[in-house]
Amino acid sequence: MARMRIVYLPKNRCRNVVWLLLLLTITSCNLLESSPYDARVTGDTGINARNVARIEKALDGKSSFRFAFISDTQRWYDETEAFVAHLNSRDDVDFVLHGGDVSDFGVTEEFLWQRDILNELKVPYVVLLGNHDVLGNGVQVYRRVFGEENFSFMAGDVKFICLNTNALEFDYSNPIPDFSFIKAQLKDDNPAYRRTIYAMHVAPGDEQFNNNVADVFHLYVKLSPGILCGLYGHGHTFAEADKFGDGIIYYETPCIGKRFYLMFTINAEGYSYEPVYF
């Protein structure tokens, strides 16, 4: 019969270990939070860059693909979760584009809760910056969790130019929309780049947009190679409008609380879309 051997730690060392374990458990679960706006990001970061690489790799050389366009998931955790379950049950979607407003108050935990739900998606997703995401120190948390507020990626031969258009939040102290960023995108000499889609949280004409340059902005949109359409969220309803009367359509996807989103199909001839209820 084997005899149990009990190893006794020296008393003070044992106490140290207990303290260390206690400290570790408390700090690891972020129980001892200093503020809802503590900007303490635990877990996954740099999501947009990683998912952009996945999208670009998966759709390289293709001219037809399909993506789901959602927006404004703030404080609709249950509905966002339902959307993720719904989308995971389909196998005909290449990626998800999120139009911004993952947070309602700009509180750090909101970004992490939403990230954890959206990370369950089987397909890659990218998230734009919404006006609510800027509140407090939200933009710093957004940058850490998702990435830069202006970014672009290639899905097949289509370049998605994703812009921060929340001018009202930045008091005109930052260039919003950032024309130097847009110009740099249009100069891209990637031979695969044939067509363009603009994505933003707030559309030209909205009180949040810098409407003094709305026409100039649209001029750049119009100049973009093979412009397909503009996409935005913010208004929490569905809308479709030829905002500048030149045939370039801007589409608004509703908030996730409405339990429907827009599914876009791109092929060599152009694009089509349909509302999908879940």
């Binding site: 129980l31 939070e33 503020s35 706006y37 990001v41 404080r75 955790y77 108050f105 407090g136 009202l168």
Partner: protein, 217 residues
């Protein structure tokens, strides 16, 4: 609006002065002037903070220092807490101020030990982030009703427990007693998120604070 706040403050202050100068026992054989000065001094003495708290977490700063007053047979306590919010992913650290009201319904003597135990503490506290990026109510640049909440001011509720060690008079240096406490708390924004979503559980919105209280007076 600022003027009305100022007026109210002045009225409150003058009422406080009247109360402090009128408060106390019946006049002794002291001359009227000395008696009034005595009353005046003892009135102000009531405002001397009675303890110091050192604390961590609880949505009141990663490290925070507090002071305040206990009264009502030590059932009540009002804290004023200064907390540090570290930088983390933000580009600067920040400071928050907390005004906290605590209520301790029971106090239990633990045997013959010098310890007493308060099995329940209930608290309500208001926390303010001292930073220009946060507003009390939405700025004028926004259309009416654009943001219904305040990013600067948080309303919080907490429940906890406390153990107090009485220091025998012979061994007292600066403190009468030392207390150790913990408290679980949450804030308005977390409650708002949890009540409308099954995804956010009760445990997701609980935060912990740990602290030590040094009772001076």
């Amino acid at each position: 609006m600022n003027r009305s706040i100022f007026n109210r403050l002045m009225v409150t202050l003058s009422l406080l002065c009247v109360w402090m100068s009128a408060h106390g026992e019946t006049p002794t054989e002291l001359p009227a002037y000395d008696y009034r000065v005595e009353q005046y001094r003892s009135g102000w003495n009531r405002l001397v903070p009675r303890y110091v708290k050192l604390q961590t977490g609880g949505l009141m700063g990663a490290v925070s220092v507090g002071t305040g007053w206990n009264y009502g047979r030590d059932h009540w306590e009002t804290d004023f807490i200064l907390g540090l919010i570290p930088k983390f992913s933000d580009d600067h650290a920040r400071v928050s101020l907390t005004l906290k009201q605590n209520y301790y319904p029971w106090k239990v003597q633990l045997g013959n030990s010098p310890f007493t135990f308060e099995p329940l503490s209930c608290s309500f506290f208001v926390n303010v982030i001292m930073d220009r990026d946060y507003w009390v109510s939405q700025l004028d640049k926004y259309p009416n009703g654009y943001y219904w909440f305040s990013t600067r001011v948080r309303m919080n509720l907490g429940l906890g427990q406390r153990w107090t060690l009485r220091i025998p008079e012979s061994r007292r240096k600066f403190h009468r007693s030392v207390s150790f406490y913990y408290e679980f708390s949450t804030c308005d924004m977390y409650v708002t998120s949890a009540v409308t979503n099954r995804y956010i559980s009760f445990w997701d919105i609980l935060r912990l604070s740990l602290g030590v209280k040094f009772q001076i007076l």
